[in-house]
Point group: C2
Chain length 396, copies 2
């Protein structure tokens, strides 16, 4: 029996494939700071658990394929607060932002079609592009150029007759780049000119720092047929295990075609949708403290990273990731060293080797991504282990 070419060409997630080694380190009695995964240690709002515990039907039935009515309504209200007026039929609830991307790639790509993404990109997207038979075309950016990809020549330079969509995570994962209004306008203009979809993954919308305000791609009226917004409760409400995301677009043809995929997989988990409706119904003030906390964690993490000699990274303006080039020959080897041979007083650390976040061959082999999702002192401790680990690794 043969496996398909396409699955053989995919990769294990660089964010998750080292988990067994981290688990082994824990089993061996070590403490591991897990900076690899965007899994915040911030409590999920009680409203979620209350809604779940109050579920009182005796049959846990299939939900509507489009999503629970209460959640769709809560999403409409949420979008209204940020200035976008979505009809019910403009919204589709998905199994996390991941399924949203999977569905969108299926809806937009045939074999060898292309999607443009800034590099480094969120690596799991590549798997979904590959599942749809398509290709990621990367716009290379670096810490030195401020992870700047919203430049006309850069984007138009990679557009071909196979290009179907520009996929933008804003604020960015894994760089923390936040687009200005002008940069967004440029992307909108290019998409209109070349007839491209804009997939706007705005799951970190609330997390911008230094007083920066962020617009949503949903606010560009002239591009409302091109724009598709992806959202999720995972990061926004620290509810990663709920697996509830969404797609929102005013393009009726897109939304009605997506229903084919939605109906085939029947529905999202019923009680998680009910819990997620309660999350979206929280007062917007909920985000004030959370944002302050992430900004503090970012500041502490940036200061700690600066202690590492030879490191290169850009200071993130939003989301909760930092991509950094380490003064090591190979980030995967270094991580294996940290997990299997190294500790500081019985503690070690896990990051995501960022090679898989790059499309350009050979680039990113010394890079890591960390998520500042743990409390400040844990971030400090984890980054210090990386610092000490680099010395030991390079001295072997």
């Amino acid at each position: 029996m043969k496996l398909s070419q396409k699955i053989q060409e995919m990769q294990l997630s660089p964010i998750r494939k080292f988990v067994p080694y981290a688990d082994a380190a824990v089993a061996a009695g070590k403490k591991v700071y897990r900076l690899n995964l965007g899994q915040p240690d911030i409590a999920t709002p009680k409203a979620f658990f209350d809604a779940v515990r109050n579920f009182d039907q005796n049959v846990l039935a299939y939900a509507n394929s489009q999503g629970e009515a209460t959640l769709i309504e809560a999403l409409q209200n949420y979008y209204k607060r940020i200035g976008i007026d979505f009809k019910k039929s403009d919204i589709l609830v998905t199994n996390g932002g991941s399924e949203a991307i999977n569905m969108l790639m299926t809806a937009m790509l045939d074999n060898d079609d292309e999607v443009i993404m800034a590099e480094p990109f969120y690596t799991n997207y590549k798997t979904f592009v590959g599942q749809a038979g398509g290709k990621v075309v990367a716009i290379p950016t670096t810490a030195e150029d401020g992870y700047q990809y919203a430049v006309r020549e850069k984007i138009e330079g990679v557009i071909t007759d196979k290009t179907k969509a520009i996929c933008i995570i804003n604020p960015g994962n894994p760089t923390g780049k936040v687009l200005t209004q002008e940069e967004m306008q440029l992307i909108v203009d290019i998409a209109l000119k070349h007839d491209l979809w804009i997939i706007a993954d705005e799951v970190y919308r609330e997390f911008t720092y230094d007083g920066k305000e962020m617009a949503t791609f949903g606010s560009f009226k002239e591009a409302e047929q091109n724009v598709v917004i992806v959202d999720s409760v995972s990061k926004r409400f620290s509810a990663c295990g709920a697996r509830i995301g969404s797609i929102a677009s005013k393009n009726e043809e897109l939304m009605s075609n997506l229903m084919k995929l939605a109906q085939a997989r029947l529905c999202c988990p019923t009680i998680d949708m009910i819990g997620s409706a309660a999350l979206y119904n929280l007062e917007p003030e909920y985000f004030d403290d959370i944002k302050k906390e992430y900004e503090h964690r970012r500041n502490v993490s940036v200061e700690a990273l600066k202690e590492i000699e030879g490191i290169k990274f850009g200071v993130p303006e939003g989301a909760f990731y930092i991509t950094a080039q380490l003064p090591v020959d190979n980030a995967e080897d270094f991580l294996m060293f940290l997990l299997t041979e190294f500790d500081v007083n019985g503690e070690t650390v896990m990051f995501a080797p960022a090679g898989g976040f790059f499309g350009t061959p050979g680039v990113g082999q010394s890079d890591m991504r960390i998520a500042y999702v743990l409390k400040a002192e844990d971030m400090k401790a984890g980054i210090n282990i990386i610092k000490e680990g680099i010395k030991a690794y390079n001295a072997r």
Copy 2:
């Protein structure tokens, strides 16, 4: 912006696309018996809700991509009881049986590859085959021939060099066909001879009637590298809204490649996996009453259907569906008539028009699938409305 060819070639689910009309009938004050969907009215075991309510972590975190350890262990024990010894790494938890099929098609099919299925087939499978770029190749069966597809000439007659897998739902959806040991052996022999995957969807494993015993494809040692078992808590435990399924196989290359897809979508919903572990830990006696109840519902439904003049159907041996050819010109038109123009004392009925369950052009246009998931008197009432509706529809 263009949509992909593949999504345009997909269809809305014939099981779900008439839901808006049923909802409109309800809004207009009618009662609608919903026989379209395999959504049992049997209570979900309390063990599920207890486990969910007892979840006491304050962060609803991502789970392991492979699945919660407690659920994988419960699945191992469940399989042990039916005679299959699966290692932990042989099992992957999925978002319902649907995601299992989606992943398997991605893992097995490249463009234009073929999967063999008995016709009528579970229509949603076709969407996942199409998403992977493949084609469903149907083995036509009819009520008259007892929905018999396990015949060497029938199967070998459709095998080509593009055939990658035989996909078998046993007990069958939508026919209720249950394979004998000899029929299963034949399929195993053919798969071994032609080097094919056997996708064994056994989600209705416990629901066989008339004292029939059913084997699992997992019991054929000689084919353990070919066999992949798909399961789900949806029907087995009347927990459709949990969206928890699984893939189990001793083929290590398959399972390790599937982890690429599993990691890309991060994980299944955490609390539903914890609830589902409690379901799989129920005593096997749980199924005794359930099975008796479904057998009763089947008997009542079959008797009621026999009252319809000109109907053709086979008596199901398992699962909880009946596919029947109605004495109407077009089942979709007839359903629209039932939902929008007809009632018996303010009550009407919904079934799934079965045209989409057939691959052979033109076949199945007068067929419906019903699920005997409602209590016996509701099945009787619903089928009586179909009977009266046929008279009125044909008399127009």
